[in-house]
Symmetry: C2
Subunit: 281 residues, 2 copies
């Protein structure tokens, strides 16, 4: 695996590969990899002749009171995991490379980032779309893979790619879960054993809404109520939001027959977790 | 000259050219070409093996009370002029191609677009940087040429290219002027013969500031005053702003020894004109 730290070198690597007729898949990460990332990478390997990844804990997507400084990091472990896939080239820039003094350009997707996490993390999605636009220009992939775990992020990036005419295809990949149903996340590392058990309430809540949906219920308030009840009956879990919305627009009202996504954010102890489910899938 | 209307076709054209080892220069335009555009194109021809241009009157960079609807258009005349250069490929999309329903992504350069024209045309530069980002992703050039006439636009685009890691180089080209000094602009077509004479006051004002600078004056208020006096003594010319600022940051205070640009916006009759000069150059 080639490790590249300079944007110009990564661009030259990709440009040369494209001109050799290779296709490039790309999995951007903030590191501290788990099976969810590896699934994205394996899917990328299948799609393209070359697989690239990036490892960059992006400061601009963290709020001032969020966990940027203590976000879990393990560069050597991450590289070892990437080599098992294997990843062909890893772009791993220093923070000052990505945001030199004077940086002042933002890429913003407006409507899709208003609700859900966007309402609780001001500036978060602007940081995400900006860094992903930069990474797309640096890595120049044909395919970029994103997990459905971060569903609003996925929708915002899909929209950005269309709106800014990025010459690449976004491949969404289903959320990878622990055997008991907890969605994989680097932030699960923050949980104590007790919190780890309580965190399961997020997935249980989604499955409650899904069961109700499968029984015929289409009223979004009722679907939300079913999920909310599970969370409220778990001590130590504090709901931030429970929302059933159109899975395309992330808004209401839903167009008839359109898929519904239920999205949840909740604190388990001090750790903020998110999860979501497309109902009836 | 190949005329291409679909983004995917333009991307395929450029990708194939890049992989043949060609280099691509790009001159984006809103049409109604004049000698200023042709100078950019001839400079592009010198720099690269292929020359591309675009013709798109971008609605998102016009304010609600501005001249989008009546902006001068002459597609056949523009194509004829491009063929004389010659341009190899022209990207000429329909408006609905560039902004399909649901479009909601903006590229914004923050500090550099606050003052000067940015203060008087809210949303203008956001429209410019967004459409230029789209065009860069569609045309995939190695070089993009912009005139110094739109000086704040040039600085915003240079900043965007650095900040978003576009893999291309911006080539600034000096303002082309009529024999009497009027900066070339598609909007000069709006001027009556009487207004055309009065419009010369913008260039005279800049030359007055430049003369004072060359005589040793470095006080920016004094430089502005010299320019302002010329404009104020011309009936029918209404100043929007006269600003002497750091030519890099477009702000004050100036770093010592840094170039100063004097920028002017003024209405001549109903027509808004801009011009600028880097002093002592």
């Amino acid at each position: 695996m080639e490790i590249i730290t300079k944007p110009k070198e990564m661009q030259a690597w990709s440009e040369a590969a494209r001109c050799r007729g290779e296709t490039i898949a790309f999995v951007p990460t903030m590191g501290f990899l788990h099976e969810g990332h590896l699934t994205l990478m394996r899917e990328g390997r299948k799609r393209a002749s070359l697989l690239t990844s990036s490892l960059f804990v992006n400061p601009t997507q963290f709020g001032p009171n969020e966990d940027f400084a203590r976000y879990p990091r393990n560069f050597d472990g991450d590289c070892a995991m990437m080599r098992t896939v294997p990843v062909d080239a890893l772009f791993a820039p220093a923070p000052e490379t990505m945001y030199p003094p004077g940086s002042q350009t933002w890429v913003e997707v407006t409507e899709l980032t208003q609700g859900l996490c966007g309402a609780h993390r001001p500036g978060h999605f602007r940081g995400v779309t900006t860094v992903v636009a930069k990474l797309f220009n640096i890595v120049k992939p044909h395919y970029a893979l994103f997990g459905e775990k971060d569903f609003q992020q996925l929708r915002a990036i899909q929209r950005m790619v269309v709106d800014l005419n990025f010459d690449l295809e976004i491949i969404p990949v289903q959320t990878v879960r622990e055997p008991d149903g907890l969605a994989m996340s680097s932030r699960n590392a923050y949980l104590s054993p007790d919190e780890r058990r309580k965190a399961l309430a997020l997935n249980c809540a989604l499955r409650a809404a899904d069961a109700l949906y499968r029984s015929g219920q289409r009223n979004v308030e009722e679907l939300e109520r079913a999920a909310r009840q599970v969370l409220e009956s778990t001590p130590g879990v504090a709901i931030q939001y429970v929302s059933a919305v159109d899975a395309e627009t992330l808004e209401r009202p839903l167009a008839p027959e359109r898929p519904i996504v239920v999205a949840i954010a909740a604190h388990v102890g001090a750790t903020r977790l998110i999860d979501n489910m497309i109902l009836g899938r």
